[in-house]
């Protein structure tokens, strides 16, 4: 067997390893129902902020605690506890992705991604000069 063959086999082995690792390592998108079935697994949940309910951020008590209510894409609402500061312009978010685990009656999120369409393509022409 030539060296090139050995290298080739090694190459394929590493590639398969990389694919397997990616598939097993990666968390998946889910809704609240699926996430609450497996409280020990990490999920990405996509949804919208419930603007009717109160969001609580009291930096004087805890600068790394922010709670709000989110409705997932299946229509289920849940309280979300984010262990970070309140994101800029949170109320304007159109879509939210929270990353974390479902613990008890709340979703404990380590991280949050927000899509504010306004930032990229929203905003309509209006009279701005007087």
């Amino acid at each position: 067997m030539k060296k090139i063959h050995i290298i080739g086999i090694l190459l394929i082995a590493v590639s398969i390893g990389a694919i397997m690792a990616s598939l097993s390592n990666s968390s998946t998108y889910a809704n609240f129902r699926e996430a609450s079935v497996h409280p020990d697994l990490e999920y990405h949940v996509v949804g919208k902020l419930n603007k009717e309910k109160e969001t609580v951020y009291d930096p004087k008590a805890d600068a790394n605690l922010f709670t709000f209510y989110m409705v997932d894409n299946g229509g289920i609402e849940k309280k979300v506890v984010l262990h970070k500061s309140k994101p800029q312009d949170f109320e304007r978010s159109e879509q939210i992705v929270i990353i974390g685990k479902c613990r008890g009656d709340a979703f404990q999120a380590d991280d949050i991604l927000m899509k504010c369409p306004s930032k990229y393509n929203d905003g309509k022409p209006s009279e701005t000069k007087i």
Binding site: A18, S27, T28, A30, P59, L65, S85, P125
Partner: protein, 813 residues
């Protein structure tokens, strides 16, 4: 009914549109005529030259048209021609002119244009320098231009819209804004301002990063075009000679462009670092990795005539990965996985066509010519330079594969109906794979040059690198102990990058006896080692000094990956790392709010000594949302990064907060017995007194006056009294306020509603009662300057190496 709009400037748009069409048609014509010419050259037909001349003229015409497009678009942006959607979308009249470049390429159309423009520049150079390669090489270049300019066409072919044309889309005709009443007004332009540039892009790095990056992308086309030309004209070996310098130039430029992007992220974005393995970052890094592989394998081929197929494979892969990245970042498929992908313009089909055209072209040409790749009978020796370079290129290929496979997760989701999310801790996930690859690479880089081509005496090589090996090992142990780096992989990478630096420095100083001219490769490798060393030290020892230890919720502590935000009230001083940090206030300048965060150091005598002030910014942007921009203090050995994650914006519009001034007052409606609260007391309405002592208040007898009795209880239950008076003097309400200086409160009694027996009062508090505060993050990045220094050295080294090669090529000619 037709409206005759006033003041619309439609001529620039028409001019621009003519240029777009001309650019497209001329590129098409140029591609076809170059193709014919190249075919005639291979058959040595006499009119080949005439066709080539025609093709040249077409390309020149195309170039002129592209320049015309660029100039027109600039004119429109600079003149605030908001009647055009592109101008309205990406700029406004308040914006500073220095960001006009950023506006130009913020949108997809502008960035395609930038890319097209660089191809024009490169094509012009190729016409001058490529000699007998001109026709076949320029065929590919022109074909690429056909695809790129088609992205700007904005015409309908049946129901399919081809491209998006910044010159033909008028704002009032844009389908999203069709029914807006503003456009019923013929004079709408007088009242219209632009939407403005995304505040994140209003940064000097954004004026130089995109052109550099796109020049890098554009340069990958040249080796690709030469490779295609080599297969097509059956000059399987010769194409590499002219392509090689281009590959190295591309490597230097693209590498610089990527790192500039990192610098921008570090300076202006708030994720706290220069590299986040974001899909958009990844998709520019991956072609660079394969380009580095391609350029180095070309070196093997040049010296040994081996690895011919690999040179083709890596060269083609690089360009195709550039196209694939273009598809990923512009088709909208990345969706929520990336923060800075382009807006989807519905051009996915066109982008895929662009990608597959060149994939199929490359694959078909390779298959057709497969018999021409020589089977090398003898194997490379293990102890030869070519074998080690080859190994290095394979490591690069695998590293790119790993990054690309994961970045493409949204594509796999779409293709196979999966629900895979990107890794939660992207940085940790990618690092765990990429660090071993980096270790392998730096080790190969350290030793590679010590091997000769063909074969070497391994004992002699070991002897030569031994010193560097031992020195780097000692250094690594010392640094790891000093800085407290304990993770095994980090320590190994620390050693291997130091080994790479030492061994290449050694090679330059002793093997090449310090000659700068020949040392391009060694210097570039030293630079690469420094980049990795700087990245390793600054990220592995990155320290949040704004750590919040006051937390009692252990469960939450376990869950969260870091409680890095800390509350600072104005005037408070908190210890953060070696520093004592005070927030002294904020001020507004234009749209930006600057927060003054002062850093102090403790001296031996226990007193605090002022060190420096950082002014992180929050830009208030009603249209696109507020954007926070960190501020960083640079020292030689470390950076201190400060970022405001949350602040009280209610008081933003007020002038500088003077503690002794009263803030805006709040109104309350109360009945007797009601209680309201201020920030430091409870206030109870006890009752009224209608028989006011008018002399006390210097009131005339005809005046109606009612006194309200309030009892105020502070935190210590101490009682204060306040008696504001409601006065009606000639039908005018002229209340007399009551102040409680001890509590910093002022009360006014300004309305009585007899039907309900309730009264309205207003309450103002001194600003000291509710101090201004910020929530901030402070991070120390040690040794990050090593990274930036490494970048510069790498570019200088590559430049030297290219210069030497080009010089040699000239001499041979």
């Amino acid at each position: 009914m037709d409206i005759h709009y006033i003041g619309e400037r439609l001529i620039p748009g028409q001019l621009g549109n003519v240029c777009v069409i001309l650019a497209f048609v001329a590129a098409l014509f140029s591609a076809v005529t170059y193709l014919i010419s190249a075919n005639k050259f291979t058959k040595s037909e006499p009119d080949a030259v005439a066709w080539k001349m025609m093709a040249r003229v077409s390309f020149r015409l195309h170039s002129l048209a592209v320049i015309g497009i660029v100039v027109t678009l600039f004119y429109m942006l600079q003149g605030h021609l908001f009647e055009y959607e592109y101008v309205w979308h990406h700029s406004n009249s308040a914006m500073r002119m220095r960001y006009i470049l950023s506006c130009f390429w913020e949108g997809q159309e502008g960035s395609f244009l930038l890319w097209t423009f660089w191809h024009v520049v490169i094509g012009t150079i190729l016409i001058k320098t490529s000699k007998e390669w001109e026709a076949p090489v320029m065929t590919t270049v022109s074909a690429v231009q056909v695809f790129l300019t088609s992205m700007l066409l904005g015409v309908y072919l049946f129901d399919y819209k081809i491209g998006s044309n910044p010159f033909t889309i008028l704002l009032r005709q844009h389908p999203d804004f069709a029914n807006i009443p503003l456009f019923q007004n013929p004079d709408y332009l007088a009242k219209l301002d632009g939407r403005g540039l995304n505040p994140l892009l209003q940064n000097y790095w954004m004026t130089i990063h995109p052109p550099t990056l796109f020049l890098g992308f554009a340069l990958t086309l040249v080796p690709f075009a030469y490779g295609i030309a080599g297969l097509w004209t059956k000059r399987f070996q010769e194409w590499q000679k002219p392509a090689l310098p281009w590959a190295f130039i591309g490597m230097a430029v693209l590498g610089t462009g990527i790192l500039m992007g990192g610098a921008w992220a570090y300076e202006a974005l708030s994720f706290g670092g220069f590299w986040a393995w974001d899909p958009v970052e990844n998709s520019s890094l991956v072609p660079w990795l394969t380009l580095v592989g391609a350029a180095h394998v070309m070196l093997i081929h040049k010296h040994k005539g081996q690895s011919l197929f690999t040179t083709f494979f890596l060269t083609f892969t690089t360009f195709i990965l550039v196209l694939y990245s273009t598809f990923l970042t512009r088709s909208g498929i990345l969706g929520e996985t990336s923060v800075h992908a382009f807006t989807d313009l519905g051009m996915s089909g066109q982008l895929l066509l662009y990608l597959f055209f060149f994939v199929i072209l490359a694959v078909v040409l390779l298959i057709v010519n497969r018999k021409h790749f020589p089977k090398v009978a003898e194997e490379e020796a293990v102890w030869s330079r070519e074998f080690w370079i080859f190994l290095g290129s394979l490591v690069l290929l695998i590293a790119s594969f790993h990054i690309m496979f994961n970045t493409s997760m949204p594509v796999w989701n779409k293709l196979f109906k999966l629900k895979m999310a990107p890794p939660t801790d992207a940085i940790g996930f990618y690092n765990s794979w990429q660090i071993p690859f980096a270790i392998l690479l730096t080790f190969l880089l350290a030793t590679g040059q010590y091997f000769n081509y063909k074969n070497s005496d391994i004992r002699a090589v070991v002897k030569k690198v031994l010193i560097s090996f031992i020195l780097s090992l000692v250094l690594a142990v010392v640094i790891a102990l000093l800085m407290g780096i304990s993770k095994a992989f980090y320590v190994v990478l620390l050693w291997s990058s130091l080994f790479c630096i030492c061994a290449n420095a050694n090679y330059w100083l002793f093997v090449l006896s310090g000659k700068v001219k020949k040392a391009g490769a060694s210097i570039a490798h030293i630079g690469f080692g420094l980049v990795l060393l700087g990245a390793l030290l600054s990220t592995s020892r990155k320290e949040f000094i704004s750590h919040n230890n006051s937390d009692k919720d252990i469960e939450a502590l376990k869950l969260s990956n870091g409680r890095n935000n800390i509350l600072l009230q104005v005037g408070d001083t908190l210890q953060m790392g070696d520093y004592f940090v005070t927030y002294t206030g904020k001020h507004k300048l234009g749209a930006n709010i600057y927060f003054d965060v002062e850093y102090y150091k403790k001296q031996p005598d226990g007193k605090l000594k002022y060190d420096f002030t950082l002014k992180p910014i929050v830009q208030i942007n009603a249209q696109m949302g507020n954007v926070a921009e960190p501020d960083t203090r640079h020292f030689l050995q470390k950076d201190i990064y400060t970022h405001v994650t949350y602040a009280d914006y209610e008081t933003l519009d007020e002038k500088k907060q003077e503690g002794n001034e009263y803030g805006t007052s709040k109104s309350f409606t109360m009945a007797v017995g009601d209680t309201i609260s201020s920030s430091n007391s409870l206030i109870v309405l006890e009752g009224f007194n209608t028989k006011v002592d008018k002399n006390k208040y210097h009131l005339g007898d005809s005046v109606l006056a009612v006194e309200a009795h309030f009892k105020l209880f502070d935190i210590n239950k101490k009682i204060y009294i306040a008696n504001p008076v409601y006065v009606i003097n000639h039908n005018q309400v002229e209340p007399i306020e009551a102040e409680v200086p001890e509590l910093g409160l002022k009360m006014n009694f300004w309305k009585i509603t007899p039907e309900t027996g309730k009264i309205d009062i207003s309450l103002a508090e001194k600003n000291v009662n509710k101090p201004d505060f910020i929530v901030m993050e402070a991070i120390v990045f040690p040794c990050i300057n090593i990274l930036w220094m490494g970048c510069v050295i790498m570019v200088i080294g590559t430049g030297l190496a290219i210069w030497q090669r080009v010089k040699k090529l000239r001499i041979k000619d």
